[in-house]
Symmetry: C2
Subunit: 282 residues, 2 copies
């Protein structure tokens, strides 16, 4: 009988893609397949473990709905989302750092007037005045940039997770003024657990990991001719800054709210966008 | 600004599992995570490609039902199932080779008398008499071994895929006699495409691969004290023997049906089971 030739299986599977019309797809699949086979050989995966992996992936896919993307959560908690972010958004000198998009963006919201509140109902949280500027990497202010923001309510849930919240609560769009400035009123964000009632939550528990993210406000800033910036601002002092469940924290994105004359807190932050690279596709 | 430290993300994600109570889970996840990150770095995966991968995995999970396991299909067409098989079933001298289990086993069927037909309705196919023996690696016949068999109808579909077929059509169980023999009547199997109306079929098409498997009969043979054997017998001359969509063909499993006196065809095959390894779990 032949001795099993593990490498031959991998070679056969890669060779079988030789006719793929899309060279990039062929390249990606060949690399993924090789590393996947390596991982299975290296762990000497048992059949029971393979079955458990199939069942886990199946549950993960079946947890996905229009409101819930469990595979993005999985990518997030495995550091994959931040790795893809890092590969595609080398910050470069003087450009704001990016972080995970997350699964809770809910589409473009109406543009509000400068300084408007993003609350659609009163909340118990500490009032916060956010004042920002958007400029180019060379320091020129960017007028008319679209600034989209979203955050959770004090219960740690986004409006899209919580039927009690009015739709669009704690999310809004703003346009920067001639001097690149924008401003809005909100509440200080809180830390919150990512949805942990599904397979990814079970995985975190099995791994002895907590599901929490440090308090943050999401920002997505777009301006024609510049690279879209997807990022957060985190709040200094949060207990989860060093153990964000999705590895999203970068030092330059941590801010310390300052006490205001009226007793509220204030954050000032200067966002800088990279020039858009020339794109030949998309 | 910090330059992105790709390796730091991987290290952070692996370190975060340090408290996992299950050492084997920690080991597997660390290896998988490292190879997954390597694959993403090596391909320099774009955000659009990452999104496409998330969407593909989501569609794959959502295709799964009680009757359809799309992640097993994916594992099969990527050679992963055969790699896991090879890792766990080093055949060893004088032991029958194994191959993929496949997604079409439908649970244990009633035991039929030696020589009985496994058809529940007449079919157009060429009549085939299958005669087998089951013995130990040392050549001792195994009496009372359970031989489970399943195959498609001439339309290339299993009963569980085809509402027109009676349940249990072309599947059955047999017990070996005192001399280790078993026998049944069936039809010569045909090659068939794996289910290709889902994400895995779309992937095969994008990769320029056909979805076909060479004609085969599935066997699962169990006997207390011996390793379960999951295998197929393939039919010599099939055009897909060298390009099985799931990489399941092994030379020792290819048989040539012999013409019988009555005009039917016959296959004789000697199966040999490995001794069961000592098991301390499961
Ligand atoms: Cu690897
Ligand atoms: Fe968030
Ligand atoms: Fe089959």
């Amino acid at each position: 009988m032949s001795t099993p030739d593990f490498a031959a299986i991998t070679t056969a599977a890669i060779d079988r893609m030789a006719e793929a019309p899309n060279a990039r797809l062929r390249q990606i699949l060949a690399v993924v397949l090789r590393h996947l086979h390596d991982a299975i050989r290296e762990t000497r995966l048992t059949e029971a473990e393979w079955e458990a992996a199939i069942a886990f992936l199946t549950r993960t896919g079946q947890m996905c709905t229009a409101e819930r993307q469990e595979f993005i959560l999985l990518s997030d908690v495995l550091g994959v989302s931040m790795l893809v972010d890092a590969l595609n958004h080398a910050a470069g000198d003087g450009v704001s750092e990016s972080t995970v998009f997350g699964p809770f963006y809910a589409g473009r919201q109406p543009v509000l007037a400068a300084g408007a509140s993003i609350l659609k109902r009163p909340e118990e949280g500490t009032p916060l005045h956010m004042r920002g500027t958007v400029s180019t990497a060379r320091g020129a202010p960017l007028a008319g940039a679209l600034v989209e923001v979203w955050q959770t309510a004090p219960n740690g849930q986004y409006d899209v997770q919580d039927p009690q919240q009015p739709a669009g609560h704690l999310r809004a769009s703003f346009e920067t003024a001639a001097d690149g400035s924008f401003a809005f009123a909100t509440i200080v964000p809180v830390s919150y657990p990512i949805p942990d009632d599904g397979p990814v939550g079970a995985l975190l528990e099995a791994l002895g990991r907590h599901p929490n993210r440090p308090a943050h406000i999401h920002f997505m800033i777009t301006a024609p001719g510049y690279r879209r910036l997807v990022t957060h601002l985190f709040i200094e002092g949060d207990p989860y800054l060093t153990s964000d469940a999705v590895f999203g924290v970068k030092q330059s994105l941590i801010v310390r709210p300052q006490a205001q004359a009226d007793g509220s807190l204030g954050i000032d932050y200067a966002f800088t966008l990279a020039d858009a690279p020339e794109r030949h596709d998309e």
